[in-house]
């Protein structure tokens, strides 16, 4: 891939050719946070090594791909709960199976309490070049409420450790709008993180997911539910402070310094293709979406016994693909390149003419130089727009 192509990819704009990605799932955490409904499991240390072996086995037996991979993403869970050498081994297996191109973005998620400078050095040594750190907040009461195990200082320390270890790209994840957070908590968290000058900041509104301890607290009125109006206020503060600090919002929840958008992220939003390895991992190829067995133990057994790990799949029709691609692409600030969209998804836009027109007339969508995008008014109520285009 040319330098120009890489630059284009990292601008954060929608891509006609989103490249190809690999997602690797590490379904373990030392402790499950109160809001989390991801596919992750506490403890099970006895399972870690077995899972790593299975994961490597899964990668090795996969059909592989000659298509050059432009990004690899290790997510979780807490990937950094595993020793660096295990992570290195998995990454090497991926490299053996898939043609990971030079200059590809290779990200690993990390939780502050699991990392230090030597850990980052080992990860960089293994080939990871982008670390995404779960900071979430710098306010102690918010961290406690969310059930995070690290302090604010440890979070800041993690960013610094990644930097001094030489990480090319550092992302800080933040969560806003939790019931424990005041407006000044949020401002302070943003300012504290901005001061560490990460390359990329993701800020997610706290969502109360069914089945989580947080949902139970809300249902039993022990804490108030999240207030969408408060979250909207917080979002506006984030946009204001981050823009001021030179971060460009390229997607609804993602900000980056110029040229530092996450390629893997953009791949998702551009409806690209990706492999998914590991328990409960999702993959996508040309309209076929598939996912694997969620329980790590069952996943490992399947690999060990030579069975398929696929738990389910769906094949989207052409129009459904187009709708989904719009749902994803319009989340990007750039919106979608309508001509390129037509080349990729056929008459998907034309067939939505009346809906698009109504949304444009209502000021919720706008067209600029052949690109179709959300208006500033509709960014925060994107669901209202997107569900009309499915």
């Amino acid at each position: 891939m040319s330098l120009a192509a890489i630059e284009q990819a990292r601008s954060g704009a929608w891509l006609e050719d989103p490249g190809f990605g690999v997602y690797v799932h590490i379904p373990f955490c030392r402790h499950r946070c109160h809001y989390c409904d991801f596919n992750t499991y506490e403890a099970q240390e006895d399972l870690h090594q077995r899972y790593v072996d299975a994961l490597v086995g899964e990668v090795e037996r996969s059909s592989g791909s000659d298509r050059p991979a432009t990004s690899v993403f290790f997510g979780g869970g807490t990937p950094t709960l595993l020793p660096a050498r295990s992570l290195a081994r998995i990454l090497q297996a991926v490299r053996n199976a898939v043609n990971v191109e030079a200059g590809a973005e290779i990200t690993i998620e990390a939780n502050p309490e699991t990392v230090d400078e030597p850990m980052f050095e080992a990860l960089l040594e293994a080939g990871f070049d982008r670390v995404s750190i779960g900071i979430q907040s710098l306010a102690p009461r918010v961290l406690e409420g969310l059930g995070r195990e690290h302090s604010a200082a440890r979070a800041v320390g993690a960013i610094r450790a990644a930097r001094s270890a030489g990480a090319m790209d550092v992302n800080a994840d933040l969560i806003y709008g939790s019931p424990w957070e005041s407006s000044s908590d949020w401002r302070a968290s943003l300012q504290g993180v901005i001061a560490e000058q990460p390359d990329h900041i993701s800020a997610y509104a706290l969502t109360v997911e069914e089945g989580t301890p947080l949902a139970t607290l809300v249902r039993t009125s022990r804490i108030p539910d999240v207030d969408p109006d408060v979250q909207a206020d917080r979002y506006e503060v984030a946009q204001e402070l981050l823009a001021e600090a030179g971060y460009w919002r390229y997607e609804i929840s993602n900000w980056a310094r110029p040229g530092r958008a996450s390629r893997h992220n953009v791949l998702y939003w551009s409806a690209g293709d990706y492999f998914g390895f590991g328990a409960g991992a999702h993959a996508h190829f040309g309209g076929r979406r598939a996912w694997t067995i969620r329980l790590p133990r069952s996943f490992a057994s399947a690999v060990e016994e030579g069975r398929s790990t696929e738990a389910g799949s769906e094949c989207l029709g052409p129009d459904q693909r187009a709708g989904e691609a719009l749902m994803l692409g319009l989340r990007l600030t750039s919106g979608v390149d309508t001509a390129a969209f037509g080349r990729r998804f056929g008459p998907g836009l034309a067939s939505r003419g009346p809906a698009l027109e109504a949304l444009e007339t209502g000021g919720l969508l706008e067209r600029r130089g052949g690109w179709l995008r959300l208006s500033s008014r509709s960014t925060l109520v994107a669901n209202e727009v997107l569900c009309r285009l499915l």
């Binding site: 969502t207 909207a232 999702h282 109520v381």
Partner: protein, 605 residues
């Protein structure tokens, strides 16, 4: 049987005052039903069996009774509908009688509806035999209630029969009284046939069964007949008597009571109050007095909750109409509720009954708009117009005067609740017409009040404010001009038809405020601020705002799980599909239904 040996009577009574038990005793003592076949509540059970198609309705029962004088008499017990909305039907049943038994629970005293029917009977010149029932009850106070009744009908308390229908005590004496006090019919057996239809219903196997009293002349089976009011010609396929089972006979003579089956398919062709004559006599015969077209008084839009059920609702109304001459319906459509029917009912209870039958017998889930009455509008150009649906109200600028139907309501209550009831009636713009102490403890109150004021929750209020002791009856007394206005409810400037209503000007603000507040809680937030206004014409009287939705976006995508994200949005999209569009505002139908439901706590008295 010759006229001198015929008696026709009805029992005027309140629910639970013992009419069914008394009927049982009469059937037994006259040996109309033999001991082996006797069951409790015999006639009521026949009604249930009729509903299941086993037997036909016993709207009148013939009994043969050998009196103390050694003569055999033919006694016809004529049933009266026991519902507040069926005053006209009661009057026709009474018109088929020469006398009534006024049956009053000796532990409760007379109730409003009984009182109304008593007045009807007295006005019709019928012989009234006062009876206190349940004297065997420990709580019975026959002396007290005898005073009450004596005061009402002007008899001596000692003339009042005291019975226990349950034990049979005093019933034999009552039978004698029926023979001796109630006069025989006085029709002319040689005149052309005139028979009064006092009840009719549709039977799925037999078609319409009409119950008739032969006033003059006689009717033979197979004779060609004519219904004078409807002009329907038919043939008397079968005539018969209920004794208590349907028994076909060859002819009915002057004064006799029986049923008539004439191959008629809808009750609207054989209406209550109509006169039956022979086809031959048709042109010369004068119809019996007192016939009235059934006139709906209360109107409401009825809509299926599921729009797909519209054809089912139409079929169900068609079926009910076969058996209900008073029910009217015509299709209408509402921006908020979709397609439905504007239905007309005799009154509130009739509306409740129809709605319940539609839901129960036809499995429909329904929503009704707030009930309305028929307003008469006089336009400034002199034109007069009847408005049954508030959305049809002409522009206020073109209206000279609006008149609304008034009713005379009668409440019988323990005297301690008089103040409470007066307050309630005043709130409903009632005007006190009469207050009459039946006894020191019980009062009869008469008010004139707009019908529109009692069709919401008046019955409920009356019951709850008097711990259930007050009873109510009402009858229409014509139209009166009133200071009425139409209040519209607007969403983002667009009127929502289902919430338009016609109210007295003084109540417009309360209505507007209630509805706007209620809708603010029910209408989901949109992209933009949605003003909810209540307005009289262009003047806004109440306003609320549904603040614009500020955040509705999924935060992130979990490890490439796009499927989940799409499903969430598909769910949201599905929700949108079920929304109604009022201008640019999307409202789930459930919000409208919820807002209307809050008004529908109207229950039968």
């Amino acid at each position: 049987m010759d006229q001198a040996h015929q008696r026709a009577f009805a029992v005027i009574s309140h629910v639970d005052h013992g009419k069914s038990t008394l009927s049982d005793r009469l059937l037994q003592l006259t040996k109309t039903v033999n001991e082996r076949d006797m069951r409790e509540q015999y006639l009521d059970r026949m009604d249930l069996e009729r509903e299941r198609g086993i037997t036909i309705k016993a709207a009148a029962v013939r009994m043969e009774y050998e009196a103390a004088d050694g003569e055999v008499y033919e006694l016809n017990l004529i049933d009266t509908p026991g519902h507040v909305d069926f005053g006209y039907e009661v009057s026709r049943s009474l018109a088929a009688c020469e006398g009534v038994l006024l049956l009053v629970d000796a532990a409760q005293g007379i109730e409003a509806q009984t009182l109304t029917n008593l007045y009807l009977a007295v006005d019709a010149g019928l012989e009234v035999i006062p009876v206190l029932n349940k004297i065997d009850l420990p709580a019975a106070q026959p002396e007290k209630y005898a005073q009450e009744i004596a005061g009402l009908i002007g008899c001596d308390p000692s003339d009042i029969y005291r019975i226990s229908a349950k034990t049979g005590e005093g019933v034999a004496e009552l039978l004698e009284a029926i023979v001796s006090h109630i006069p025989p019919p006085s029709g002319d057996p040689d005149a052309p046939l005139r028979a009064l239809v006092f009840d009719s219903y549709y039977d799925i196997y037999r078609g319409v069964v009409a119950y008739i009293r032969i006033v003059d002349g006689s009717l033979r089976a197979r004779e060609p007949i004519r219904f004078l009011a409807t002009g329907v010609d038919a043939e008397a396929d079968e005539i018969g008597i209920m004794a208590p089972d349907a028994t076909p006979i060859k002819s009915l003579a002057t004064g006799e009571v029986g049923y008539l089956i004439a191959g008629i398919k809808e009750v609207v062709q054989a209406k209550v109050g109509d006169t039956v004559t022979t086809k031959a006599a048709g042109a010369q015969v004068q119809a019996l007095a007192g016939y009235r077209e059934p006139k709906p008084m209360v109107f409401a839009g009825i809509y299926p909750v599921e729009g797909d059920d519209f054809p089912l609702l139409r079929d169900a109304l068609e079926k009910l109409k076969l058996n209900d001459a008073a029910l009217t319906y015509e299709p209408e459509s509402s921006g908020a509720l979709g397609f439905g029917f504007r239905c007309g009912f005799l009154g509130l209870l009739h509306m409740e009954i129809v709605r319940e039958r539609l839901e129960r017998e036809f499995g429909l889930e329904l929503i009704a708009t707030a009930p309305s009455v028929a307003y008469e509008i006089e336009l400034s150009n002199g034109e007069r117009r009847v408005v049954r649906n508030p959305t049809d109200m002409p522009d206020p600028g073109t209206i000279n005067e609006i008149s609304e139907p008034f009713v005379s309501i009668m409440v019988v209550t323990p005297s301690e609740y008089v103040g409470t009831i007066m307050q309630l009636c005043q709130e409903r713009r009632g005007e006190l017409k009469e207050m009459h102490y039946l006894s020191p403890e019980r009062v009869e109150l008469r008010y004139h009040t707009p019908l529109g004021e009692i069709i919401f929750d008046f019955f409920d209020q009356l019951k709850s404010r008097t711990k259930g002791y007050a009873s109510l009856d009402y009858e229409p007394v014509g139209l009166q001009p009133a200071n009425l206005v139409k209040v519209d409810v607007l969403l983002n400037g667009q009127p929502v038809d289902a919430f338009s209503t016609i109210v007295h000007r003084e109540k417009a603000y309360t209505y507007g405020k209630t509805m706007t507040e209620r809708l603010r809680k029910l209408i989901p937030r949109q992209f933009f601020d949605v003003p909810i206004q209540a307005a009289i014409g262009s003047r806004v009287i109440a306003r609320e705002t549904v603040k614009a939705k500020r955040k509705d976006v999924l935060a992130k995508c979990y490890g490439g799980d796009i499927t989940r994200k799409r499903k969430l949005l598909e769910k949201q999209k599905e929700g949108k599909r079920r929304m109604k569009q009022i201008g640019s505002v999307e409202v789930p139908q459930s919000a409208f239904i919820e807002a209307l439901r809050l008004d529908q706590e109207v229950k039968a008295p």
